[in-house]
Amino acid sequence: MIYFDNVSKHYSDGRASGLEEITFQVDPKEFVSIVGHSGAGKTTLLKMIIAEDKPSSGSVFYESLDIHRIPRSKLPSFRRKIGTVFQDFKLLPHKTAYENVAFAMEANGRTDAEIAENVPQALALVDLEDKAFNFPHELSGGEKQRVAIARAIVNQPDIIIADEPTGNLDPIATYEVVQILRKINDLGTTVIMTTHNKGVIDEIERRVITMDEGRIIRDDASGKYVL
């Protein structure tokens, strides 16, 4: 589904960590965790998948599509196939939880009827029906991240990219978020997550890719956090 072919990335100004000859494949319905120290290149790797950044050499494929050869005008429709979740949530502060989720559907050009039907479903999946009309500043970190997950899944993407989704959360909220991601994965969506939380990895018991200094140093089918 996602295929990295000998991808390298070098930043001349050192503002982000680069990648060295990365090759790996993610199959449909997989749950892949990418672990590594800060600066190992985890975030750079995810940015390649959503076409936020271009590789210096090599290619990244989504199915048979070379992601970095998608014309600029087609990028929005490509990005709609991918749901994204970030450490800092990236919610629109002037919109309620409901509106934040609905916005992703509006941007997608969905009808009002579809929005009215799907947004409550997505909020129910992350167990936030009762907070639908609260603004982000009225929610806890865990609740904000669940809103972000609801937004990521509401367009029924093929794949969810989660960059340190539990990085700002306390242990209980972390547990809830991981459970939700697993539930989404069980429902058939591919999940690629970066983290450096050992507990999270050990609990999921799925494939773990370990990175260091821009290289993949381990790739275990049912991994433990080893560094």
Binding site: P76, K90, L91, F103, E106, A107
Partner: protein, 306 residues
Amino acid sequence: MLTGLRRIVRAGFVGFWRNAYVSLASVFVMTVALFVIGMTMFVDELLTTSLNTIQSKVDINVYFVPDASIDEIDRIRSSVAALPDVEAVTYTSREDALEEYRARNQDNEIALQALEELNENPLGATIAIQAKETSQYERVAQYLDEQKAQEEVGAPVIDVINFNRNKDSIDTLTAIINAVERSSFVVLIVLLIAATLITFNTIRLAIYTSREEIAIMRLVGASNMFIRGPFMLQGVMYGFLAGLLTLALFYPILIWIGPETAAFFEINLLDYYLENFREIFGIIVGIGVVLGLFSSTLAIARYLRT
């Protein structure tokens, strides 16, 4: 498509209200810019009107000798009126000329007494000739000079043709007004550029406060038009409101200075404003809307680069 448009419009209005202070600042800055542009337009109108007034006051006066025969005067009068360059010919008879003189010198005892001393009317008939264009006076004057030259010696009809005496001052005045009009055009261009830059920067600032929102929109796969649309609409709204505000500002100001301009330039700017309101509305609000749209489109562009 229609749903998308509706959402863009709604997002535009919501954005306008949620950033009320930034919106207000942008509207005020644009108002100042439009106000200056409007003022320049009014000044230009004043100058154009006064040029026209002065030009319409230019005429050629032909003074006939007092004992010129009516037939001769009529002949010259109709031949001049038949010239293609001539707009109008006004005839003043000897009697009328006397009446005018009396009326003009009502309070001047000496002048009236002097008139009494003479037993007959010392004034000749006159005709005043107006050409269609200032530049055509030259030809009319030439024609009259020829007429005068053809007169029989000892029996003159035309006494004085007074065009040549005014010619220099008319030319000078025309040159001055043209120069002023030309420089006011340059000033208008410079002001327009300044207004565009100021407006552009203000709107850029307004959009800068939304940069994170724009990044999030891109992340959830919003198309460029979906992101850009609300901001462009806001730019149009700024311009439209600033235009209305400018027009509203002009009204009391023109009530105040209208009588002054009427006295000095012979045009009441308030009347001009009210008579041409539709046109002025179109220009001021139009410039505002175009300026707002142009500035916001330019300002948002840098946040949409991939």
